[in-house]
């Protein structure tokens, strides 16, 4: 499920091909999500997906389509009638091809879009933002290894700039904060600019869920809160490891921050993983996955001292990240966080 976070490589390749490829960028092999492969042999992706998995995926997609209805018309009704079914299916993972639409439905951003016609265009074209230069500087530093965002001034980079600029005008108090690009960039792999913008608004301002703007406000209050809470959870659930972390003076800001797209590699700072906060089952899942990973790797981590420990926490082994094993374990961990919002 996590590895399916990003978009389908085929789609991205097609999208990228519509525009002239830069002369200096020969076609490099990408994984199924559109990221340029670093190491072609040492990856789970290298293996073809077995047929039964493909069939299972197709069955899932059919179920989801029925649940959503045409253009999302049946969604609200279904959620009201069978919330437990919806929750269970979200846990199993939203099929990649429907993710963009479902995220918009869950977050309430569809409603915002419909209620505010022309607003996005106004923000992009007619307003100026104090953060324009800051945004430009980060554009080429956001997912530099993804085909959609690689091309200088290409469609990916242009959309990303527009969404970030629009948001920085829409919410001048928050403005532009580094890290937003990774969130907006992820959304852009699944939907149009305008949809991505309103989803960002829905997430940060809270359309139907609690707002997450504390991730980016001055002082980063929500980041601080999450880091603190995760540290407490580690002590509670994995006391030995918690003790080891204190002795080695390791705290979550050292390993749980970052910009990687994979929730399992870095899970705390205002990067893409926080899409989960609203687009899945609440922030609780982020904590659960973090705890599950630490549980799986505990024996190894306990042996390591400061430097190697940090390295290990930032580079979990591929086998530990296998969602088929990791997720059941994550869901089995009982995490009580009072502020957590549930779907």
């Amino acid at each position: 499920m996590f590895s399916r976070l990003a978009s389908d490589a085929e789609m991205e390749k097609r999208r990228a091909d519509e525009f002239e490829p830069g002369p200096a960028s020969p076609l490099k092999p990408v994984d199924r999500f559109g990221f340029v492969k670093q190491d072609q042999n040492n990856s789970l992706e290298a293996k073809n997906r077995p047929t039964n998995e493909v069939e299972r995926e197709e069955r899932r997609i059919r179920k989801w389509r029925k649940m959503i209805g045409v253009g999302g018309s049946d969604w609200k009704h279904y959620v009201r009638r069978k919330p437990h079914v919806v929750r269970r299916r979200i846990r199993k993972g939203i099929p990649d091809c429907l993710r963009g639409l479902v995220w918009q439905l869950i977050s309430g951003s569809r409603g915002l879009l419909l209620m505010n016609p022309g607003v996005y265009e106004q923000l992009v074209i007619y307003e100026t933002s104090a953060s324009e230069l800051d945004i430009i500087r980060d554009i080429s530093r956001t997912f530099p290894s993804h085909v959609f965002f690689q091309q200088r001034h290409g469609p990916g980079q242009r959309s990303l700039y527009n969404v970030l600029k629009a948001y920085s005008v829409y919410d001048r108090d928050v403005g532009y904060v580094q890290g937003m690009g990774f969130l907006a960039g992820l959304l852009l792999l699944y939907m149009s600019e305008e949809d991505a913008f309103w989803l960002l608004v829905a997430l940060l301002k809270g359309a139907v869920h609690a707002p997450m703007e504390g991730l980016y406000q001055v002082g980063l209050p929500l980041v601080q809160q999450y880091l603190f809470q995760f540290e407490q959870l580690v002590k509670e659930h994995l006391p030995k490891l918690g003790q080891h972390f204190s002795e080695e003076m390791i705290n979550p800001s050292m390993y749980a921050s970052g910009s990687d797209i994979s929730v399992t590699k870095r899970f705390m700072t205002p990067g893409p993983p926080f899409v989960w906060h609203v687009l899945g089952t609440g922030v609780k899942i982020v904590f659960q996955v973090g705890l599950a990973l630490l549980t799986v790797c505990q024996n190894n981590l306990l042996k390591l001292a400061f430097e190697k420990l940090i390295h290990a926490l930032r580079n979990f082994p591929e086998e530990a990240l296998d969602p088929e094993k990791l997720l059941p374990l994550a869901f089995s961990i009982k995490v009580f966080v009072t502020y957590s919002i549930s779907f």
Partner: protein, 215 residues
């Protein structure tokens, strides 16, 4: 010099890299610790970490270097990393005047959070971009003199002065520590092996004091 960060060292010094977003902090770090440079690097969110050991006066000095996000908003997280630092590279981009003008704010921030004996160097990076340069070497030097810090111009891309800058900071920290040990009437040699040295005269507990690195 090896690029491995060995577990075998005599001194462990904590160093921070600070400065505006996009001045090249992460590339300076990767050039120094891995001899790598990337034109396509990601912006740093939060903090990153790397280490490298060098030899100073027949002792192995290990630098534990924290690379921080440059955007002001992130100081809520990054300023915690100044604590216990005995050295800092305060970096600006010689092609962007604003990054130079912000140095005083960075220095203030640093001095508010670190010990007065911490070794500070102003680093003008991207010196390879000669045709785009807007901050002259003289201006950089003058500010360093006024602020009583070390000064160096570097290019992470061309690998110019990068080792030199870090080595100078680490050597100076080493000297501060040696002098301090002498003042205290101790021979340097009796300082516990592998212990992080705090340069504070008050002997404040360094954030990494317990980091005895042998395993």
């Amino acid at each position: 010099m090896a690029y491995m960060s060995d577990d075998d060292y005599d001194y462990l010094f904590k160093v921070v890299l600070i400065g505006d977003s996009g001045v090249g902090k992460s590339n300076l770090l990767s050039r120094f610790t891995k001899n790598e440079f990337s034109l396509e690097s990601k912006s740093t969110i939060g903090v990153e970490f790397a280490a490298r050991s060098i030899q100073v006066s027949e002792k192995i000095v290990k630098a534990q270097i924290w690379d921080t996000a440059g955007q002001e908003r992130y100081r809520a997280i990054t300023s915690a990393y100044y604590r216990g630092a005995v050295g800092a590279l305060v970096i600006y981009d010689v092609t962007r005047n604003a990054t130079f003008e912000n140095l005083e704010r960075w220095l203030k921030e640093l001095r508010d959070h670190t010990d007065s004996n911490a070794v500070i160097m102003l680093v003008g990076n991207k010196a390879d971009l000669r045709h785009l340069r807007v901050v002259s070497t003289e201006d950089g030097k003058a500010l360093a003199e006024r602020e009583n810090t070390f000064f160096m111009e570097t290019s992470a891309l061309e690998s110019m002065n990068v080792d030199h800058a870090f080595t100078e900071v680490l050597t100076e920290i080493f000297h501060v520590v040696s002098r301090k040990a002498l003042v205290a009437g101790d021979a340097v040699a009796v300082l516990p092996k592998g212990q992080t040295i705090s340069v504070s005269m008050e002997d404040e507990v360094s954030a990494l004091k317990k980091k005895v690195g042998c395993c």
